[in-house]
């Protein structure tokens, strides 16, 4: 035995906490002290194998050994089984990095997530942290922008706009002040990668934003957090304080004369604030109303100044690009979709979590090889890709390669990489109704197609569900979708037709109760009292 303390990892990620990670950590500490065994409990982020949470890992000479899903009641038997040296146990998963779900991934952005103590600068540095920033501090702004452009990185928030091009616009804008804003308003159902990164590797975001600031000449930045993510906000604020304390933020970044101030701000439950101009309005302390573009935020953004607005995952991809070089990142992926995307498997899925893969992986691989099918054991009937504004896809399209262009060609969007799985008890007319209802609740109200169209959409779908003039009302609904698509100011109204139209196109039987399939009766698996 070495004299080093055995390290036990119990995640502090909100998903792990939601199924009892704190109680498990407490039980391990108590059992260890009862047995007089000294050990060190590290509260790491999540490895992203969420069906195994709480996933407890033990550092052994062979590597980290995983046990999951652990409950407090399992803890004594884990000690009895010798888990401190990786002993066998019914919950044993073997070496964490050999678990098939994990092993086949290509983790660039999530490389440190779940591995390190998220609130230790020392641990972050020991795993390659701040090397990208150190390189950037020795480069000119134009060189940093060129590196990001060459990497092929595109915005991970959904639109897929080339990050380097956006930065270049801000760099070339003349102004007395510029900003970097991170859009962490991850409101799409089926997405949790931003939250996991912020909770599992917050310094990566801080480093990415600081590099962005150096690249464009910004001196202040904001992270726009969600009020639904109190745990992530607390973690990020703690990490920002540590970064200031250790000279990675503030007036003299890492001993240079470069300046960057960073603050986390919290939204207030408005989905529309995930739209970049509504987010800027909200950061200015106003109603989250969408702005007309142009002017682009890159030229007139926060407080009217040139502003970089990027998603969490875009900014978190930047440190590795500056560390390992543009070529390294660009070598992953296909066509014009370069690098990796952290896909998120959610909803009715046996093995939900994060799958970071290069672009080009198919939905089929993600859903069956990684996800293992539904948790209900029933066949998958539909998946929604890219959040509430994303299309519903039937199994016939599961061979679609995941890259921006392949999805756009199908009238779908890859979006943020979130995939929500439904089994065959889903009623797609109800899902279409929900898409319109969601838009009616969350519309900012600035433009008419979105504000009024969504309410009319709910009414028309209700008539269709009631079997009233179905053909006429379907034609009316299609016309309404066309108006919303063409006439809305932003993606909220402009993309709500995607889930509606795709539901009608691929699952038309659910909209015609007379020729009903069993699932068109409106009864779902969980509805029985």
């Amino acid at each position: 035995m070495s004299h080093r303390l055995t390290s036990i990892y119990v995640p502090r990620d909100a998903a792990a906490l939601s199924v009892g990670a704190d109680a498990v950590a407490a039980a391990i500490r108590a059992e260890a002290s009862r047995r007089g065994l000294p050990l060190r409990v590290v509260r790491n982020g999540s490895r992203g194998m969420l069906w195994l949470e709480p996933l407890v890992e033990v550092a052994t000479d062979a590597g980290r050994v995983a046990y999951g899903a652990v409950t407090p009641a399992d803890v004594p038997s884990l000690f009895d089984a010798g888990f401190l040296t990786g002993g066998p146990h019914p919950l044993g998963q073997g070496l964490t990095e050999e678990i098939p779900f994990f092993k086949k991934q290509e983790r660039l952005t999530f490389a440190r997530c779940g591995v390190i103590d998220p609130l230790s600068v020392e641990d972050y540095r020991a795993h390659g942290g701040f090397r990208g920033l150190e390189n950037a501090l020795a480069m000119t702004p134009a060189e940093i922008v060129a590196t990001v452009t060459e990497s092929g990185l595109r915005g991970r928030g959904g639109a897929g706009f080339p990050t380097g091009v956006k930065w270049n616009t801000v760099l070339n804008a003349e102004a007395d002040e510029k900003f970097v804003c991170c859009n962490a308003d991850e409101g799409d159902s089926g997405t949790f990668a931003d939250r996991m990164m912020i909770e599992g590797d917050p310094f990566c975001l801080i480093e990415g934003m600081t590099i962005a600031a150096l690249a464009v000449g910004a001196t202040a930045g904001y992270v726009y957090m969600r009020s639904e993510y109190p745990h992530a906000t607390e973690t990020l604020r703690h990490a920002i304080r540590l970064a200031y304390d250790e000279g990675w933020l503030g007036e003299n970044i890492h001993g240079t004369d470069r300046i960057f101030h960073l603050e986390a701000r919290v939204g207030a439950g408005a989905y529309i604030c995930g739209e970049e101009t509504a987010m800027l309005e909200s950061l200015e302390g106003k109603r989250g109303m969408v702005r007309a573009k142009p002017p682009l935020p890159a030229l007139q953004g926060l407080f009217g100044k040139p502003t970089v607005v990027n998603n969490v995952l875009s900014l978190c991809a930047v440190p590795i690009i500056l560390d390992r070089g543009a070529d390294y990142y660009r070598d992953f992926g296909v066509g014009r979709s370069r690098g990796t995307l952290p896909f998120q498997l959610a909803g009715n899925i046996r093995q939900g979590g994060i799958v970071e893969k290069a672009f080009g992986v198919t939905l089929h691989e993600l859903l069956y090889e990684y996800g293992g099918g539904t948790i209900s054991g029933r066949p998958i009937r539909a998946v929604q890709v890219g959040g509430p504004l994303g299309a519903y896809l039937p199994p016939a399209q599961f061979d679609l390669r995941k890259d921006y262009e392949a999805f756009a060609a199908q009238g779908a969007m890859l979006g943020h990489g979130g995939i929500v799985v439904f089994d065959d008890t889903v009623n797609m007319a109800r899902q279409a109704r929900f898409a319109m209802e969601f838009c009616a609740i969350e519309s900012c109200g600035k433009c008419t197609p979105c504000r009024i169209g969504s309410t009319r959409g709910v009414e028309v779908i209700d008539k269709i569900i009631a079997g009233q003039d179905v053909d006429d009302n379907l034609a009316l609904l299609d016309d309404l979708c066309e108006v919303m698509l063409d006439g809305s100011l932003c993606a909220m109204g402009g993309m709500t037709p995607f889930p509606v139209r795709s539901a009608i196109k691929h699952f038309g039987e659910d909209f015609r109760p007379t020729t009903a399939s069993p699932s068109a009766t409106g009864i779902r698996a969980g509805d029985a009292p």
Binding site: A15, V19, W51, G190, T191, G285, R287, P388, F422, D527
Partner: protein, 153 residues
């Protein structure tokens, strides 16, 4: 007013101030609106417009415990609609309402970021995953028991 002073140096301070007020007082009182307007050099309509725009800001105090229940797609796929119906029946409260005894406010929300462990519920800022009807009843029963123990002391 000390809350306003604390945030005075922040730019675009209205949202942070409203969050701090609600944290302290449980809601945004009508009396706060002209005070904030004066302090931030805004019109009362501006402040009212912001308070009423965001779902989070309340004009009346909530129950002792705030139950945020996700009803977005990933949770729908795992029975969130049925869970919300169950919660309404078991707590005898409507969505966005507060129970007659003031113990619980029930707030449907869209996405708590726990989409692989659906259905998700957040009670008083604490996230819970894989919440079926039984687990929901157990969680709320625990809180009632805690409240009763505190009242007895």
């Amino acid at each position: 007013m000390s809350i306003v002073a604390e945030h005075a140096r922040q730019r675009g301070a209205l949202l942070p101030i409203l969050h701090a007020l609600q944290e302290t007082f449980g809601c945004i009182d009508d009396a706060a609106i002209p005070l904030l307007a004066g302090a931030l050099n805004l019109s009362r309509a501006d402040v009212h417009g912001v308070v009423s725009f965001y779902h989070d800001f309340r004009r009346t105090r909530p129950g002792r415990h705030v139950v945020k229940m996700c009803r977005a797609e990933a949770c729908q796929a795992m029975g969130a609609d049925a869970l919300l119906d169950h919660a309404r029946r078991s707590l005898t409260v409507d969505a966005h309402g507060t129970t007659a005894d003031g113990a619980f406010s029930l707030e449907p929300v869209f996405c708590l970021g726990n989409c692989a462990l659906s259905p998700a519920v957040m009670i008083d800022g604490v996230l819970h995953g894989r919440v079926g009807p039984e687990r929901f009843d157990a969680l709320t029963a625990d809180l009632r028991a805690q409240d009763q123990a505190e009242d007895a002391r």
